[in-house]
Amino acid sequence: MFKKTSNTGKWMIHFGNFTTRDLAFIGMIVALMFIIEMVIMLGVAAITPFPGAKSIGQAFFISIIIAVGLAKVTKVGTFTIIGIIMGVVAGLIMPAFLPLLPAAILGGLAADAITRIFYGRYGSRNSLVVACGVNQMVETLLILTIMVVFGFSTEIINPIMILIAAILATILGAAGGLIGSKIATELQSAGAIGN
């Protein structure tokens, strides 16, 4: 799906094989992620000075939602779209925290790349677990590294702390992916996802 379309001069990534239905569904998934993220952010970030807490706190719940989205759409590239849209919303609109933009996009790209190499498409339980884990790891690493660049005390965020936070986020992300695949199965039985 990462077809070069230099002749149309549009963008490096070709999104032609996503139907309007896919795009609308992804849009709704991101809207839901956003709501969950805001609730967690106000709940977690306001009470702890450690900036990794937010990444860890949201990893599980966000991953559940993403996993359901991936299970429905199944196409590789879905995670990148989710990353781009979530990045634009979180980075530019609310809470308008710019570092979230590159972190979300790169996290999505990484997950898509891994899935493309190992699974070909989303759908199996393992593919969802791995993709959500990878995404959370990359995102957490990036956010915390950016914090250091901004001059946050290296005594509070040292490399070991970053690593621990990333591992925790990865595990929670994978767990969220697992729950998400369970939900997708139930939605199928309700006839809501028809695959």
């Binding site: 139907t19 309007t20 239905r21 139930e186 039985s189 309700a190 006839g191 809501a192 028809g194």
Partner: protein, 506 residues
């Protein structure tokens, strides 16, 4: 304009055909009403007209659908868009923009027209639906009727010859519906072909050229508009027909609820000077009412008159600023069981209220929260399941049920708590007369056991069949209160019904 031959269709993952050997021919400039029970296939038929079926929803389609010379098999939905305008039941779910003007421009923008042409089309479309004044306004601040008119304009800007409207009035109050039909009349005069899908027929009598009745995926009747004046035929096809109601009532008194007995001495609810303020400025002011055991009370009024707010305060979802709500018999200690005994409320959209993966477990959801033992829960659920005819559905996923079945499941879920009072918010939205009568039967049955009801509704026919008393609300206040019996006597003929309706709708 439309030519359908031998159309068969079944949805993905189902074996039962949703459409079965349908043949239909519609000429240019015709106004066709397609009606029938819910689930008869009328909306499915509409979806085949612009290729939503099979291109978006998938499934198995056979036969031929040709609209304005284009066979839908060979054209995608967006290619058909310039031939057909498609207007849905709920305008909000078809809006992508905040400003009226942007919304109407969405279609022409997709065609890649240049800005001057888009601007011209937007002006013309808004003028056609008389919404020019609102061009720069926020879509979400408009009334439901205005939103629906914007939805029509948003389709007109693509210059379609054919308009298809799928139950466009189900969220509208009377005034909104009347304005909408006025607009449709104008469009008809301008030569547009219109296909209206609806089960409410009383307002379109003058507009339609042809009526098509569907059942079980087939066209079972096709004829002129005189069908809408033929009471026997309408009854046969279970088409909604409130005009007929009054004449029938006069003859035989069958619907008169005044002869349904309730215990007038035993009070179960007393509301005293209740007030509630929203931060947006809307207020519920000094509302007082009483309810007896087994009494059925209707609350009526325009959209935004405060009916739902009142109900939310009664059930405790909103805390009143002033006034009291007292339930009788008085609490014994105010524990959770006695709370649940008091009342239950079924909200408008069943999708928000179904949680479990089988009907059986849905009925028991939350009961353990109230402190019942597992054995007691099981016996209660079994009893209710039996008496509400849900035994056959017990292992189905609640979200896979039809809307009538969903509602029955919800009412049953509250009945397991043996409440004294049930509040139903707009229970008949989008219901045909068959399903409405079924609901009426359920309410009457429970009423006999001594359950009181508060019914919030626009639906006169439904209210006349169920309620003892009607309360009229406007701008957050109770403006009138009448026995339903009095309403019969006052408004016994068609003219009276119209004025009764305008009273019900504010």
């Amino acid at each position: 304009m439309i030519n359908i031959e031998g159309l068969e269709y079944s949805y993905p993952h189902t074996s039962k055909p949703a459409l079965n050997s349908v043949d239909l021919h519609v000429d240019k400039g015709e106004f066709v009403l397609v009606t029938g029970k819910s689930g008869c296939g009328k909306s499915t038929l509409a979806c085949t007209l612009n290729g939503i079926i099979p291109h978006i929803l998938g499934g198995n389609m056979e036969g031929k659908v040709v609209v304005n010379g284009k066979n839908t098999e060979n054209f995608t939905v967006f290619q058909m868009a310039q031939e057909i305008g498609f207007i849905f039941q709920n305008p909000e779910s078809q809006f992508f923009n905040l400003q009226v003007e942007d919304e109407v421009a969405f279609g022409p923008e997709n065609l890649g027209l240049d800005p001057e042409e888009i601007d011209k089309r937007v002006s013309k479309a808004l003028n056609d639906v008389k919404m020019t004044f609102w061009r720069k306004h926020n879509v979400f601040n408009l009334s439901e009727g205005q939103k629906q008119r914007v939805a029509i304009a948003a389709n007109l800007s693509l210059n379609p010859e054919l308009l298809v409207l799928d139950e466009p009035t189900s969220n509208l109050d009377l005034q909104g519906a009347m304005e909408l039909f006025q607009i449709l009349g104008r469009l008809k005069n301008k030569g547009k072909t219109i296909v209206l899908i609806d089960h409410r027929t009383q307002h379109v009598r003058e507009l339609v050229d042809r009526v098509i009745v569907m059942d079980k995926g087939r066209i079972i009747h096709e004829g002129g508009k005189k069908l809408l004046h033929d009471h026997e035929a309408m009854k046969k096809y279970s088409i909604r027909n409130p005009t007929h109601l009054t004449t029938r009532m006069k003859e035989s008194n069958v619907y008169n609820t005044s002869n349904i007995i309730y215990n007038a001495s035993e009070m179960i609810l007393e509301v005293d000077n209740l007030s509630y303020h929203y931060s947006s400025g809307f207020t519920l002011e000094d509302v007082s009412l009483t309810l007896k055991k087994g009494e059925v009370l209707g609350i009526v009024g325009n959209n935004g008159s405060g009916k739902t707010t009142l109900a939310k305060v009664l059930v405790g979802l909103l805390k009143p600023d002033k006034g009291t709500v007292s339930f009788f018999p008085e609490d014994q200690g105010g524990n959770k069981i006695s709370m649940a005994h008091k009342l239950g409320m079924v909200l408008q959209n069943p999708d928000h209220q179904l949680f479990m993966n089988t009907v059986h477990s849905e009925l028991s959801f939350g009961l353990s929260e109230l402190g019942f033992s597992p054995g007691e829960i099981e016996s209660r659920v079994e009893t209710i399941q039996e008496s509400m005819n849900l035994s056959k559905l017990r292992n189905r996923h609640p979200h896979s049920l039809s809307s009538g079945e969903k509602q029955r499941t919800l009412i049953s879920a509250f009945m397991t708590r043996q409440p004294h009072l049930l509040i139903l918010d707009e229970p008949t939205t989008g219901m045909d007369s068959y399903h409405m009568n079924q609901l009426v039967g359920e309410i009457m049955k429970l009423q006999k056991y001594g359950v009181s009801f508060i019914l919030i509704s626009h639906d006169i026919e439904f209210l006349l069949k169920t309620t003892h008393k009607l309360i009229f609300m406007e701008n957050g206040k109770i403006i009138d209160e009448k026995l339903t019996e009095e309403c019969y006597n006052l408004y016994g003929d068609f003219k009276g019904l119209e004025s009764f309706q305008s009273l019900v709708n504010g």
